[in-house]
C-alpha cells in the first residue's frame, strides 16, 4: 500500500484534548468530529486540510484519553495517514482499528515541513521525503490484515467470524 500526500506538521505530545475536546463527543453524528479536528492547536485546520493530506508529528502523538473520536476525526477529515516519531498507545490502536495508517517513523519530524509531498510505502517499509528516504517499523502481519480490511470491525466480521 502506497500513500502519497501533502504534509501538515505538528510537534511533540499532541494530545487527544487538542485533537478533539470532550464536549464534541456526546453525539452519534460523526460529521461533527472532523469539523473540530486539531482545534486546540489550529482552529482553522479543518478548513485548510484537503482529502489525502498526511499529518506528520513528533513524539507521543495522540497521548491522553482513549476517545476513539480522535482517530476518527482525523480520518473523517480526509487525512490519509499519520506519520510520527512515536504514538500514544491507545491512539495507535484506535487508528489501526479504524483503518487509519499510523506510521512510526523515527527521524520524520526533522525530515519534512508543512507543504512537503511525501510517499509512504507500507510494503517496502519506507517513507520518501524531499530530504531523503526513511525506514519505518514494519507492522506485524495481523495489523496489516486489520488495515487491509479497513479496520477491526470488518476484520472481525470477515476474518474472525467468516461472514
Amino acid at each position: 500500500m502506497k500513500i502519497r500526500g501533502k504534509v501538515w506538521k505538528f510537534g511533540d505530545d499532541v494530545n487527544t484534548d487538542v485533537i478533539i475536546p470532550a464536549r464534541y463527543l456526546r453525539t452519534f453524528d460523526s460529521s461533527v468530529w472532523p469539523q473540530h479536528v486539531m482545534e486546540g492547536i489550529d482552529p482553522e485546520f479543518s478548513k485548510k486540510v484537503q482529502p489525502g493530506d498526511i499529518i506528520v508529528a513528533g513524539r507521543n502523538f495522540g497521548c491522553g484519553s482513549s476517545r476513539e473520536q480522535a482517530a476518527l476525526a482525523i480520518k473523517l477529515a480526509g487525512i490519509a495517514a499519520v506519520v510520527a516519531e512515536s504514538f500514544g498507545w491507545i491512539f495507535f490502536r484506535n487508528a489501526i482499528n479504524n483503518g487509519l495508517p499510523a506510521v512510526e517513523c523515527p527521524g520524520i519530524s526533522k525530515a519534512v515541513e508543512t507543504g512537503d509531498l511525501i510517499e509512504i510505502d507500507l510494503e517496502k517499509g519506507v517513507v520518501s521525503t524531499p530530504r531523503g528516504i526513511l525506514q519505518i517499523k514494519p507492522y506485524p502481519v495481523f495489523m496489516r490484515e486489520i488495515l487491509a480490511h479497513g479496520g477491526l470491525v470488518e476484520y472481525f466480521k470477515r476474518k474472525i467470524r467468516g461472514d
Binding site: 505530545d13 482513549s66 512515536s86 482499528n97
Partner: protein, 418 residues
C-alpha cells in the same frame, strides 16, 4: 528472570512470554463508561452485528462522565447504553451517582491481582495499584473484546521507579507522581509499564498507589503497576476479592530503572498546559485562581477529602473563588458524611458534586471561561480540557488545592498543616 507483567501474561497463556511479544490473550475483566459506552455498543451491535456476548459476567459498566446527564443528547446516549447493557445481559451496571469507574470497579470487588483488565478509558492503568495488568483501550477494541473475550497485546517492557526515603509533611503521593512526570516527561514511559517499587512503597496506602498508577498514562505508559502488600490484600479481601497472584518483578528484569528519593520532593504543580511542565509550588505561589476542583480518579478518595477538610476546617474559601468538591464514589461520599467532612467543606463554602468525573473533562459542574485559572487535583491540564481553550489549569495535590482555595491564589499547603 521476568517482570511482573511478563509473569501475568505467562500465567494466563500457560507459556513463557517476553516483553515485545505480540500475544492474543483472554481478558478477565472489561469495563467502560457512559462516555465511551455509546460508541462501544454501536460498533458491537450495529456494525459487528453481535447481540450476545460470551462473558457478560466479566463486563462492568459505570456511568460517571456525565452524572447526571447535562443535556438531552447525553441523556439519550445513556439510555442507549442501558438498553443494550440489558439486552446483552451485561451483569454489572453501576448507574449514575455510584462514582468514577476506576474507583467503583475495585470498591465493588471486581479487581484481583494477576488479572488482565481492559477499560475503555485511558486511566484504567489505575488498577495496576492492585497488581493487575490493566490498560486503557478504545471503543473498537472494547467491542472486539466483548465479542470474543480476547484482545491482542504487545507485552510491554517495564520501567521501574525505585522509591526510597519518605515524603515530608505536606507532601503527598500526588506531588511525587508530578515530580516523577516532570523528571521523566510525558513520553518518559512510552509504551511501557510504569512500575513502582523500592523500600518506600511499603509506606504508600491503597489510595496512594491508585494515585501513582493513575498518572502512569500521563508519562506515556500502557499500564501502572505496584506489587501487592498486606494493606492491598486486606482491602481486596474486604471486597470479596481473594488474591492468588503475589509475584513481583525479579531483580534485573526491568528494562529501565529510575531511582527517586521521596524526601527530596516538595509540594508540586503541573503548570499549563502539559502534565510534565512540573514546578515546585513555590515557583507559582500567588497566582490568582478562579476555580479549585478537588476530586477525580486521581484524588477524589476519602484520604484526599480528609486532607482538604483539615485545611478548610474553620476557614473560608476566598471571595470570588469557586471550590468544587466531587467525591470519587458514593462510598467515599458516605464515609465523608460520617466523618463530618462534608459539613466542614460546605461550611467553608465548597460546592459538593454528584460522585463521578465532575468538571475533570470540561463537560459540566465547573467549566472554565476564557482566561480563567483553575487548580485541579485531576490528571490533565491540556488546552481546552476543562472548558475554554484560553483557560489555564494547574494540577496539584488536594492539600495544595485546598490551601489555594483559602487564599484565592496558588498557595503552599504547609502553612496550614499542624
Amino acid at each position: 528472570m521476568s517482570t511482573a507483567v511478563e509473569k501475568i501474561f505467562a500465567r494466563t497463556l500457560g507459556r513463557r512470554v517476553e516483553a515485545g511479544d505480540f500475544v492474543e490473550a483472554p481478558v478477565d475483566l472489561m469495563y467502560f463508561h457512559d462516555g465511551t459506552g455509546p460508541l462501544v455498543l454501536k460498533h458491537l451491535v450495529e456494525e459487528m452485528e453481535v447481540t450476545s456476548i460470551p462473558h457478560p459476567e466479566r463486563t462492568v459498566i459505570v456511568f460517571d462522565h456525565s452524572a447526571p446527564p447535562h443535556n438531552d443528547q447525553v441523556a439519550d446516549l445513556q439510555r442507549y447504553v442501558r438498553k443494550w447493557a440489558s439486552k446483552l445481559r451485561i451483569k454489572y451496571l453501576y448507574d449514575l451517582g455510584e462514582g468514577i469507574c476506576h474507583q467503583v470497579v475495585p470498591e465493588k470487588g471486581h479487581v484481583k491481582p494477576g488479572q488482565i483488565i481492559i477499560g475503555a478509558d485511558s486511566h484504567t492503568c489505575t488498577l495496576g495499584a492492585f497488581a493487575a495488568f490493566a490498560t486503557g483501550i478504545g471503543a473498537t477494541d472494547m467491542s472486539y473484546a466483548l465479542a470474543t473475550s480476547t484482545l491482542w497485546f504487545k507485552v510491554p517492557e517495564t520501567l521501574q521507579v525505585k522509591m526510597k526515603g519518605s515524603l515530608s509533611r505536606g507532601v503527598y503521593s500526588k506531588d511525587l507522581i508530578l515530580y516523577i512526570a516532570g523528571r521523566l516527561s510525558a513520553s518518559g514511559a512510552l509504551g511501557k509499564t510504569l512500575e513502582f517499587s523500592g523500600p518506600a512503597l511499603a509506606s504508600f496506602s491503597v489510595a496512594d498507589r491508585m494515585t501513582l498508577c493513575n498518572m502512569a498514562v500521563e508519562l506515556g505508559a500502557i499500564s501502572g503497576f505496584c506489587p501487592v502488600n498486606e494493606d492491598v490484600l486486606k482491602f481486596l479481601r474486604s471486597r470479596g476479592a481473594h488474591a492468588d497472584f503475589t509475584s513481583s518483578t525479579d531483580e534485573g528484569a526491568a528494562d529501565e530503572v529510575v531511582e527517586v528519593d521521596c524526601s527530596e520532593v516538595e509540594p508540586m504543580v503541573a503548570a499549563p498546559s502539559t502534565v510534565d511542565n512540573v514546578k515546585p509550588v513555590a515557583d507559582v505561589e500567588g497566582t490568582p485562581v478562579d476555580e479549585v476542583f478537588i476530586g477525580s480518579c486521581t484524588n477524589g478518595r476519602i484520604e484526599d477529602l480528609r486532607v482538604a477538610a483539615a485545611i478548610l476546617k474553620e476557614r473560608r474559601v476566598a471571595e470570588g473563588v469557586r471550590l468544587v468538591v466531587v467525591p470519587a464514589s458514593r462510598e467515599v461520599y458516605l464515609q465523608a458524611l460520617r466523618e463530618g467532612i462534608i459539613e466542614e467543606l460546605l461550611k467553608a463554602g465548597a460546592m459538593i458534586g454528584v460522585p463521578g468525573c465532575g468538571p475533570c473533562l470540561g463537560l459540566h459542574m465547573g467549566v472554565l471561561a476564557d482566561g480563567e485559572v483553575a487548580v485541579s487535583t485531576a490528571n490533565r491540564n491540556f488546552v481546552g480540557r476543562m472548558g475554554s481553550k484560553k483557560a489555564r489549569i494547574y494540577l496539584a495535590s488536594p492539600a495544595t488545592a485546598a490551601a489555594s482555595a483559602v487564599e484565592g491564589r496558588i498557595a503552599d499547603p504547609r502553612r496550614y498543616l499542624p
